[in-house]
Structures are given as C-alpha cells and as structure tokens.
C-alpha cells in the first residue's frame, strides 16, 4: 500500500468519526476526534458561550506559551510511540519540534485503535494503525491555523505557508501558532486537508531522539509503580500455588501483627481461584505480612499441570493431524517420496514468562459512584470495563489514567484483566482509600499468563534438487485466543496465533499441510512479544538451514530459491543483509561461525546474520547484522534501536534457565535467579541495523526483531558442533 499523499478521506476516520474544535480555557486549540458522533458528542457538548476543553478527548493542544501537547493514544512501554506518533502529527502540522510534548492519553473512545476498535497496544500496530490518523490530525490543525491567519490578514489561505509553528502570509506577515490558536479553534474542522508528499517530510523518516530520555535517565519519570497518592495504601496478594486453587483456611494472626498492616482479607481471583490480600501503609509491611500468612489451599478441583507429562501428551497428539490450517497440493505426495529423502523433526518449546522490569501493578480508588485508576495498560478499554464490572459501575465512570510502563511485551494485555480485577476487588473493600496493588517479582514469574508450551512435528520430503516438495507440519500448544473475546477471530476452531509463521510461510512448498492441536491445560497463557512467531520462526529457519546444508547450498541462495516471488520484503531484507554483512562474514576469526535467518511478521521482513563462537559452553554472539523492510521507517533511529535491543529479548528463549516449568501443578521458578533473562554478556556485543529504503506504508517494528535471532544463533552453533538443536531452552550445547 503506497502512502497516500492527497486527501486520504476514505479512512475509517471520516466514515465513523468527525472532528470538533473547541477553545481551551487557556486559549489553546484543541482538535478532538470523536469516533462515536451521536451519543458521545451530545453528552460532551457545551454551550458555545462557555467553551471548555476536554483534555482527555483531545489530540492536540497548542498552549499560549507555544508548547504543543499531543495525546498519544497508546501505552508507551519502551517501543517509542510517545515520540513517533507526535513526530507524525507535528510533521503535518509544521510544528516546532523543540516545543512538542507527547502525553499518554487516558482511556477514552476517541483513543481507540481505529482498526482494532479498542484502545490497545498489540500486533505491532501502533504506528501502522495510527500513521494516517495522526497525519490527518496534524494537517487539519494546520489548515485551521492557516484559516485563522488568512482571515486576520485578509488574504487567501493558499497564499499562506507554515514552518516551525509560524504561519507566514504573502506580504511578510507572520504569526505564531500560539497567537492564532484561539481564533483557529473557532474555525470549522475541514473535512479534508492536503497531506504532505513524502519528500516534504521534515520529521518523518529522520532519526529523532526519544522525547522521554532525560526523565528516564535522572529518575524523575514516574511509572505506575512510583505513584504516590495522598492516603494511599499498598496491597499484595497471596496467590494460590496451583492455578485456580482456593483458600481453604487462613491463619492471619502473625500477618496482622506486623506494624503497618491494616487489613487482611480473602478476594476472588481469576479462573475461579481465591487469594488473600494484605493491605498496609507501605509495601514492605504488606510483603512482610504476606510472608507470615499460613494458608491451606484447596486444589482438589483443578488440574495440576506438569511439564513432563504435557510433553508426553503433546508428542502423542502430534502423531495425528489436528485442525487444518493449510492443505495445499497433494496430501499423498509424501508417501511417494523415498524414505531416504524424507526427514522427521520434533521441536519443543517451554512456557516463557514476559517478566517486564517493572512488576505488574495497578492503583484504584473507588468512591462509591465512580472510580479512578492508574495503570500501565496495553488494554485500556478492556481493563477499564473489567474494573467497572467489579465495582458495579459503568466504564465511563471509571477514569483511567495510562501510566508509563517499564516494559510489557504482551503481559500488560491480558484479556481477562486479572491484575486490574484484583486491584478493584481490594479497592471495593477499602472505599475511598486509593490502593496500589503490587505484584512482586515472584508473583510475576509464578503467576502464569505465559507464552504457551509448544511441540512441532514436521515431516519433509525432499526432491532430488534439494528443495522440499512435501511438508507436513503439526503444532501442539494451548490456544491464546480461546475463551477470550478475541476468540471471535478464530475460524474452524483454529487459533491462528498457534500456526502463524508456518501456515503463512513465504517459502514455496508445493504439497503443504499444516494443522494444530490446541489442548486445554490449567496454565494461563498469553501473547509473548511476536506471539506464534517466537516458535514458528525457529522451526522454519532452522529446518530451511538444514535443508540448505543437505543440498550443499549457500543458505542465502537456498532461501532465495525457495522464497515465493511475492515475498518482496523478505527478499529485499535478505539482499541487504547479504551486502551489509559481506565484509565481516569473509573475515571470520577461527572457531567462529555465521548463522543466518529471515522471517516476516507483522508485515515486516527481517533478515539476520550473526557471528558466533562458543565460550564457557554458551553461545557468544560477537556481532548481529539485521536488515529490515518495515515500509517507511517513521523514526529510523527508533527502528534501529528497537531491532538492536529486540533481538536480545528474543535470546531469552536460548538462556539455559530461560524456561518456565511446572511440577505437580506448581511453577518451579521463582525470580530472576531461577528464570534468567539475558544479561549483557548474553547479548550481541555489536548490532548493526540496516533499513530497506521504502515509501510504502509503515509496518510493525515492536515484535519483528524477536523471531529471527534464535534460529540464526542456533544455525551458527550447528556449524560449530555439528548438532541440531530442537529443544529450547538451550540447556547444553
């Protein structure tokens, strides 16, 4: 899809919404986009004599001091959206970038993702879904400022131009945006406004530093966990050791005797469980109180999941086809291939915890007829509704502040809003006292909502020329979508997140059969950054490398030969990777090996090459080179940074202690001492990122760095050791 450079009027925006301008009390300009015109607009309409701002519903505010505050309709949790979305709007607005501020918008209908229909961060869609919207908002605001200036100067709007927050007239006139804001706010919002040609962009496509760096480097930025409200108390919850278990009896005498502990009470938890909340004036008192609870749990009615038993069951399931995702070509082709030209491979992937650095938390104050919430949420719409449900309120009476979050990777997007529900249950009891619920790291590591365990079984028939002619692929793993509101996107009982990256492979395989089993297991599962691609890319890219080696072909050449002609982005990325890594691949030190991989996810093509040796029985990654086709890179510095760091997140699944395992229903890991993410020595020493030049619409960059790195590293290890690695984490080399 090429960039629209004219009146992009056909967007959801104009179909479902309309724009409204109003003056702020401070005389600024607000441009408000309502997606639900009749009800919301009426509800919010004010007498014209009393122009009043709706800061929560506004996207742009031009303040008298020249500051331009842009509302960001998504959570910022590292992905850089608080910089990139303002860049897009400010570019069309011709705003003075040094005066631009990005603010995280609260929950509100106007801030819903126009494609998903809910306010959320997911599917690497933040830029892809909001690019056009933010451009239009900027262009329309600019048109209103020009209209105000033209009227003031009695000239035609076409005679005016804008630059750096100033409108210039034909006869040397000029006026700052801030001076024009009040007049501009009275102008009608234009139905359409001319958008820039990409050649006119001044911010978009330029390397821009993040707006949130300084406060993140001097300790002044407040995350959700840093919230401090007058009279606030802190709560921690004793969760059952087995998912879904209930409190049978509790002895809280010792807990209550801890100084600072105010209340101890049972609360309902997700999945029919119950737990014990300890409320105190400080975190440390609450945690000490919880440590002293003596709880007897009843897990008699719930399944006690066990990793080793699950593997046995999954292997059994994988012997037969499951729900069919793809059935292409001749199903009997495999049997006609000689046994010597057939191979079978089985891969195992454990549960993975997201473990964002900022532990999960939510603050709620319930005032009887309304509530206020502060949360770093990827799912504002759902979390707001869940809290409202617990408190017996309507969602619109729950004011929901989006707090900056210390990572998330999918963990702050639980369809059942279980953390927010817990916080609301506690707030309901406390009434009018704000309570901050804190999940300790142990709660987080043991608390479920993991990337599901998966088993892949693949049978491949190879032609004489070394290319695969038949491919049967069975994937076993819990469904992430089933039982959630997102199940509506499932067709024929098939969870597409289980098979993504395999079913839609860009490799041309004539006889191709992909199916999935989605067994039910008593372990809550969730999307983990790049979702199905976390495991599917590993399987596909290690197998393709194996096929290339079997055919004695160069891994670049083999992939190119196998890729479908329409896999343009991947081809572009592979070509760029080959060129950019050529020098170091030729000068490889002794006992080093190169591994490559390529994978497309969220419409972004990525190719990766790594220089690996073995140190202390672990892979040492001396260098990673990445080539990326993500359409237009709105902020190339942000894209570069996201890929440089995102590959290390992807390496989580290679860590020796990088698995969540269960024994007799209980999670065996506790904290970062037993579930160990990559540290600096585990990450590539150097990472260079190369972006394919493009003027196509931007595609996702948050998740696509993750899938490529592990298969590339393992492909290099295979060259060094001759072994195939099909079971993660990488416990031994």
């Amino acid at each position: 899809m090429p960039l629209t450079t004219t009146n992009a009027n056909d967007l959801n925006l104009s179909r479902r919404g309309f724009l409204r301008a109003s003056s702020t009390a401070a005389g600024g300009l607000l441009l408000t986009l309502f997606l639900d015109p009749p009800a919301a607009a009426q509800e919010r309409s004010e007498a014209p004599s009393q122009p009043k701002a709706y800061p929560p519903a506004a996207f742009v505010e031009i303040r008298p001091d020249g500051k331009i505050v842009i509302q960001v309709n998504r959570l910022e949790f590292g992905q850089g959206v608080q910089t990139a979305l303002p860049m897009i709007l400010a570019d069309e607005l011709d705003a003075d970038w040094s005066q631009v501020v990005g603010e995280l918008a609260p929950a509100g209908d106007v801030y819903k993702d126009q494609i998903y229909g809910m306010q959320m961060v997911g599917g690497s869609g933040s830029i892809a879904h909001s690019f056009q919207q933010y451009r239009e908002l900027g262009a329309k605001t600019r048109a209103m400022l020009i209209a105000a200036a033209a009227e003031r100067w009695q000239v035609m709007p076409e005679q005016c131009r804008t630059a750096s927050s100033i409108v210039h007239g034909p006869n040397g006139q000029s006026a700052k945006y801030a001076e024009l804001a009040t007049e501009a706010a009275r102008k009608p919002v234009p139905a359409t406004a001319r958008l820039k040609n990409p050649s006119e962009f001044r911010l978009v496509g330029k390397k821009m530093r993040r707006l949130d760096s300084s406060p993140k480097c001097n300790g002044s930025l407040k995350y959700g966990l840093d919230l401090d409200l007058s009279g606030m108390v802190v709560a921690v919850v004793a969760h059952p050791p087995v998912f879904g278990a209930k409190v049978k009896s509790v002895d809280d005498k010792a807990a209550r005797s801890v100084e600072g502990v105010r209340e101890v009470f049972e609360i309902p938890l997700a999945r029919g469980a119950t737990g014990v909340a300890v409320v105190a004036d400080r975190f440390w008192s609450a945690k000490r109180g919880r440590d002293l609870l003596k709880i007897e749990w009843d897990s008699s009615s719930v399944e006690r999941a066990d990793s080793s038993q699950l593997w046995t069951k999954y292997k059994e399931l994988a012997r037969a086809a499951g729900n069919v995702a793809v059935a292409r070509g001749d199903d009997g082709a495999m049997e006609r291939i000689a046994a010597s030209n057939r191979m079978v491979a089985e891969y195992e992937f454990p549960y993975l915890a997201h473990a964002p650095m900022e532990p999960l938390n939510t603050t709620v104050r319930f005032d009887g007829d309304r509530a206020e919430v502060w949360a770093g949420s990827q799912f504002q719409t759902g979390d707001q509704a869940a809290i409202a449900e617990v408190l017996g309120l309507k969602p619109e009476t729950v004011t929901f502040h989006t707090e900056m979050a210390g990572g998330g990777f999918g963990r702050r997007a639980a369809a059942d809003s279980h953390v927010q529900r817990e916080a609301a249950e506690i707030a309901k009891r406390l009434r009018a006292i704000p309570v901050k619920l804190v999940w300790t790291r142990e709660d987080d590591v043991r608390g479920g909502y993991y990337r599901p365990m998966h088993l892949h079984r693949i049978e491949i028939g190879v032609r004489a020329d070394g290319m695969p002619s038949a491919w049967r692929h069975v994937i076993v793993g819990q469904s992430i979508l089933a039982g959630t509101p997102f199940a509506a996107s499932m067709k024929d009982n098939l969870d597409h997140t289980t098979v993504e990256g395999v079913a839609d492979t860009p490799y041309a395989i004539p006889n191709f059969h992909v199916s999935a089993h989605n067994p039910k297991v008593n372990v809550p599962v969730l999307w983990w950054r790049s979702v199905g691609h976390t495991h599917s890319a590993f399987v596909m890219e290690t197998l393709v490398d194996e096929l290339a080696a079997r055919a004695h072909m160069d891994p670049f050449g083999y992939r190119r030969k196998l890729l479908k002609p329409e896999a343009r982005k991947l081809r572009a990325a592979l070509d760029l990777l080959e060129a950019k890594s050529a020098v170091w691949r030729r000068r490889l030190p002794k006992n080093h090996a190169v591994g490559i991989s390529c994978h497309e996810s969220f419409e972004t093509g990525v190719a990766c090459a790594v220089d690996v040796s073995i140190e202390n029985n672990r892979p040492r990654i001396h260098r990673a080179t990445l080539a990326v086709d993500c359409g237009l890179a709105v902020n190339p510095l942000g894209v570069e940074s996201m890929f440089q760091a995102g590959v290390t997140f992807g390496l989580s699944q290679l860590m020796a202690k990088g698995a969540i395992t269960l024994h007799d229903g209980v999670v065996e890991q506790r904290n970062f001492d037993s579930y160990v993410p990559p540290y600096m020595p585990d990450a590539p020493v150097a990472v260079d990122v190369h972006i394919v030049p493009s003027t196509e619409a931007p595609s996702g960059c948050g998740e696509p760095p993750v899938p490529v790195i592990s298969p590339a590293v393992v492909n290099a290890l295979t060259k060094l050791t001759g072994k195939r690695y099909r079971s993660l984490p990488l416990v031994a080399i």
Binding site: N218, G219, K222, M357, P677
Partner: protein, 153 residues
Amino acid sequence: MATYQLNVNGAHREVTVDPSTPLLWVLREDLKMTGTKYGCGVSACGACTVHVAGIATRSCLLPVSLVGERPVVTIEAIGQDPVGRVVQDAWVENDVVQCGYCQSGQIMCAVALLKHTPKPTDVNIEKSMGGNICRCGTYFRIREAIKAASQRL
C-alpha cells in the same frame, strides 16, 4: 520500628521504619525518591542500584539498619556529580533508553565503573554491567554510551 539518621544525596534524613526495611523501600516510600527501582528484591537485576560510600550497591537487600553513616547517592542526585553528569548526557545522546525502568540502576553502575576505571575495556564493561538486567535489551547502546562517556573523562 526504629529511627535512623541517614545521609542521602548530601542531606541529613531521619526515618522511622522497621529495621528490616531495605534501603530501597525507605528511599521509595519514606523519602519519596522513586528513581531507584524495584525489579526483583533478590539482588538479581540491579534496578535498585545506588552508591553507598561510593560503591555501587543493591539497595533491595540492604536493611536500613546496616546503612549507618555511610553516604547514599541515588539517581536523583548523580547528575550533580561530574562523572554522573557525563554519563547521563551520554545516555541521552546515544538514545539508550527504551522502557527506561532499569536505566537508573544501569547509570548508577556505569558511573561507579567510570569513577574507578575511566577508560574501561569491553571486558571491564561486561564485568561491571553484567549483573544488571535490561529486559528491553538495550545492552549494545549501554556499551556505546559508556564508551562515549569515557572519551569525555
């Protein structure tokens, strides 16, 4: 509960807390200095790193009762230190942060490293920084920022 006299960022502070309370939670909840972060509580991630008598120290496992008269410096004041200023600037100029949650601890570790070893090798950097987790994975830019800061020291 007991009362402690602390020297935090050059100022005298008095707190009355349970003796077992880690310095981390005294800083965050009693002194309202939330720049020092809670990440794990078991000294495994380094998000809570502060300087105690000039030494990079995990504040999540250090009971307030053991701090004594040793001066404590946190991220909030490290910019007043010449090395701290250079490191913070290098972090911003190299666009290091993503979610940023671990970066207070990373910066405090890096400052301690550069005060002791102004021209660190890659090995020095890995040794000093190798106990701090960045879940976003910004390690490469952290290395670059440390090298950039080092050139200015």
